[in-house]
């Protein structure tokens, strides 16, 4: 069925900008404070209060725009977006309507070896709303509680063109955008804390059709996995509805992570009419080109350039380069390890394999890990010189991850040293062959299994510490002499 339809996806991403104070007042933006302890009359929507724009928020927006190849507006202004909701104390959100700060742009994603350029429509500055907490059981309670700590935190809303054609592409876009925001140092991008949020516009159309189908907007996507699953579900739902002769209704839907479904959110009669008008309390912005150039000169290396460097210098694949450049901390770990141990492929394999797995299992970020670049480099060195086997290295790595101890200490404590000494292995091999004359006969008769049996016995006798490659070679030599 999906062969007959094409999925079309555009994403609206909200990134909380990394300023110390809010966008229009001096309240703190720190996450996790007691409810309503970082509020003032401005961000609580008291009458007569005047907003004053945080210059750093504008800097962050310019930085992001440059990183996304956007045009930075020479002139832009703020507008009021009017709607009623208890988390919006003024009953309007200060946003940007017809003159956003960033216009156009693009970013490139690579999925399964294929590069796709996703257009950026615009990015604009706005203020975040507060947080609604449902009291008790959400289905029965008649009340909600409102915490305005988040009200007025600066947001950059980044809107993409409907250029994505699969859930995997949408995820890749989101991951690439996150890495760009992290490298530009404009947002913490913590999806679980809500500092990076995403809404997906999804529609389907028969293959070859030029006109876009009716789209739905999916909200509440607070992880990469949720984004991918929700789009897959929604695309399938729409295709099935069309197959059954139904009409897709343009609506907002919410992703139910537990049930794995999207559900319609709003009643039909609610109109989306925000009656935007210019914000009279904020003078417009004139962003002169000197300002843009100053920001451009201060831009750090972006993930695209860093990834290219890894591919050019170390011959890494696009896939590996993307993984290593998913955050500046990741890249720093790679660069520091590589400075001590110059095998890029080995470093990247361990980072993307065991390290990523353990970080995910423990819900940790790479910068918080006890395993440091120096420890990984030392472990790789011990592996390369044959002191430990690949299997032992796994044990050493897990131990380093937990304790942060250096590999030498762990090897000693756990008795993990590999036996790579022919003089101590040969007598053992002799003994095992002599003790198993029947298996030896089997081997001579051409039974391949017999060889594996001997290997198993030797590894068992050495508690797995014998150098597997060496055992293999020595055994072969010894058996050939029989």
């Amino acid at each position: 069925m999906s062969k007959d339809y094409e999925v079309v996806i555009g994403l609206e991403v909200h990134a909380e900008l990394k300023t110390k104070s809010k966008i229009f007042c001096a309240c703190s933006t720190a996450f996790g404070a007691e409810p309503n302890t970082q509020v003032c009359p401005v961000c609580s929507g008291f009458p007569g209060m005047l907003p004053v724009l945080n210059e750093k928020a504008v800097d962050c927006a310019i930085k992001t725009g440059l990183a996304l190849n956007s045009e930075i507006a020479e002139f832009c202004k703020f507008d009021r977006k009017n709607y009623f909701y208890p988390d919006l104390p003024k009953a309007y959100q200060i946003s940007q309507y017809d003159l956003p700060i960033c216009k156009g742009g693009y970013l490139d994603i690579d999925v399964e070896g294929e590069r796709t350029r996703v257009g950026i429509t615009r990015a604009h500055l706005e203020e975040d709303a507060g947080k609604l907490v449902h009291q008790g059981d959400i289905t029965t309670t008649p009340f909600s509680l409102v915490d305005l700590n988040r009200s007025g935190v600066p947001l950059l809303e980044i809107v993409s063109e409907p250029d994505m054609r699969s859930a995997q592409q949408a995820r890749a876009y989101m991951e690439k955008l996150r890495s760009i925001l992290l490298f530009a140092d404009v947002s913490d991008c913590k999806m679980e804390e809500g500092s990076l949020r995403c809404d997906a516009n999804v529609s389907v159309r028969p293959w070859g059709e030029q006109k876009l189908g009716t789209r739905t907007e999916i909200k509440n996507l607070n992880s990469f996995r949720a984004l991918e699953r929700a789009i897959e579900y929604e695309a399938k739902r729409q295709m099935e509805a069309l197959e059954d002769g139904e009409v897709i209704v343009q609506e907002t839907r919410t992703w139910d992570e537990g049930k794995g479904v999207t559900r319609s959110m709003r009643s039909k009669e609610e109109a989306h009419d925000y009656r935007y008008f210019p914000e009279p309390d904020l003078p417009p912005l004139r962003i002169d080109r000197d300002w843009v150039d100053t920001v451009r000169k201060s831009m750090p290396e972006m993930p695209v350039q860093a990834g290219q460097r890894l591919m050019d210098q170390y011959g890494l694949s696009q896939y590996d380069a993307d993984l290593i450049t998913q955050s500046p901390q990741n890249l720093k770990f790679f660069d520091e390890t590589l400075a001590l141990y110059a095998d890029a492929k080995a470093v990247s394999n361990w980072m993307m394999g065991d390290l990523t797995r353990l970080l995910n299992q423990n819900g940790m970020e790479i910068q918080d890990a006890k395993v440091k670049p120096a420890l990984l480099a030392e472990m790789l060195r011990l592996m390369a010189d044959g002191t430990i086997s690949g299997k032992m290295a796994k044990t050493v790595f897990e131990e380093m991850f937990v304790s942060g101890l250096d590999p030498q200490t762990i090897i000693k404590e756990k008795g993990l040293v590999q036996i790579s000494d022919a003089n101590s292995l040969l007598p053992l091999i002799d003994e095992i062959i002599n003790n198993n004359p029947k298996v030896l006969q089997d081997y001579k008769n051409g039974k391949e299994k017999a060889f594996g049996f001997f290997i198993g016995q030797i590894m068992k006798a050495t508690k797995g510490q014998a150098n597997p490659e060496m055992v293999n070679n020595l055994l072969k030599e010894r058996l050939n002499r029989e």
Partner: protein, 94 residues
């Protein structure tokens, strides 16, 4: 430009106002006369005039990114009709 009753109902719905039939009639007339008055502006030639973004010739008014203590919670919540656990208590909206 006369506003229809339907348009009045739509604007009332956006403003969360419940109007009875008489009120709808009254507001249709009043709103229409306001719009008519403002429409006088259309008589002015505005070709080549930039849309006005702000009434004062002021641009780029900023504050530095510095934190100042907010308002104590008891004070900020003092006017709220209902408060619980340091938060505004409002009817649930689904």
């Amino acid at each position: 430009m006369a506003l229809t009753i339907k348009e009045v109902e739509y604007v009332a719905q956006l403003a969360r106002l419940q109007l009875n039939e008489d009120e709808k009639q009254i507001f249709a007339e009043q709103l229409s006369s306001i719009l008519e008055y403002v429409e006088k502006l259309n008589e002015l030639p505005t070709d080549g005039v930039e849309p006005l973004a702000h009434i004062l010739p002021v641009y780029n008014v900023f504050r530095a990114d510095e934190i100042r203590p907010g308002t104590p919670r008891e004070e900020i919540l003092a006017n709220a009709p209902l408060v619980e656990e340091g938060q505004y208590k409002v009817p649930k909206i689904m």
